[in-house]
């Protein structure tokens, strides 16, 4: 289960609209609960470095991710997943999405952006013990009015 703050949900969908007709991408920050629930209390936009094919590819610069991770740590947050958009394509994972997904146990949220308007948003959990047996599972998503950040910074 992915439980995401309403503001965060709106932000990632708006990012998809802002980036259209290109794919947007970003990071879901929050915490992992013991019951395998991921709580998202913040999202961070990232740049799409795939300037060669931004309409159907995305890539986040690891250096940018490290900076996001550092700031998240100071707030007591962890990376719990990522989001990106599919301009004029379904909010379902593609073969490319699976092949390039390596954060096992994290959520991958995809928004279909049709003619510049955000439509469906779905979440998929990357499961498996290692690369060879990884797969995406449909993940229920609950949008909550407000999720508080309660954990003490590390």
């Amino acid at each position: 289960m992915l439980k995401i703050d309403q503001t965060c949900y709106d932000q990632l969908r708006r990012h998809g609209e802002d980036a259209y007709p290109h794919e947007c991408c970003g990071v879901l920050l929050g915490r992992l609960e013991d019951d395998d629930q991921r709580l998202v209390t913040a999202v961070e936009r990232a740049g799409n470095t795939r300037t060669d094919s931004p309409q159907n590819r995305y890539n986040i610069d690891p250096r940018e991710l490290i900076a996001i991770q550092r700031q998240a740590r100071e707030r007591g947050l962890d990376i719990v997943g990522f989001y990106h958009s599919h301009p004029d394509h379904p909010a379902r994972w593609s073969s490319t999405d699976l092949a390039d997904a390596h954060w096992l146990g994290c959520s991958y949220v995809i928004t279909r952006v049709e003619k510049g308007q955000a439509r469906e948003t779905n979440s998929f959990l990357l499961v498996g013990g290692e690369e060879a047996d990884k797969s995406f599972q449909d993940e229920p998503m609950q949008v909550a009015a407000r999720i508080t950040e309660t954990k003490t910074p590390a």
Partner: protein, 101 residues
């Protein structure tokens, strides 16, 4: 020096977000890490013992591939970040892959 462990690998590292090791270079640091947590090894390295292509290792803010790779010297105030790559895309225009319906 401190090694930052990404979320998906923490289950193989005692659920720790960061681990301090003593090392003179990046290779020694990673070796110390995988010696303490051997389950990490298969997630970081291929069967041939090379770092997996999707595993980025950054010394502070620099990709070790553009430094001296695993021979890159380190000091105790450095931090090493292990960052699996983040990429993908709808990929629906010109290749044989299909969207998962």
């Amino acid at each position: 020096m401190r090694i930052h462990i990404p979320t998906p690998l923490r289950q193989y590292a005692g659920k720790k977000a960061s681990i301090d090791v003593q090392a003179d270079n990046v290779g020694q640091a990673l070796s110390a890490l995988t010696s303490t947590y051997p389950d990490l090894r298969r997630h970081l390295y291929t069967d041939e013992g090379k770092l997996r292509a999707f595993v980025n290792v950054y010394l502070n803010d620099e990709d070790i591939r553009y430094l001296h790779k695993e021979s890159t010297p380190v000091n105790e105030n450095d931090s090493l970040s292990i960052v699996p790559s983040i990429a993908g895309g709808s990929c629906a225009c010109c290749c044989p892959c299909r969207m998962n319906a």
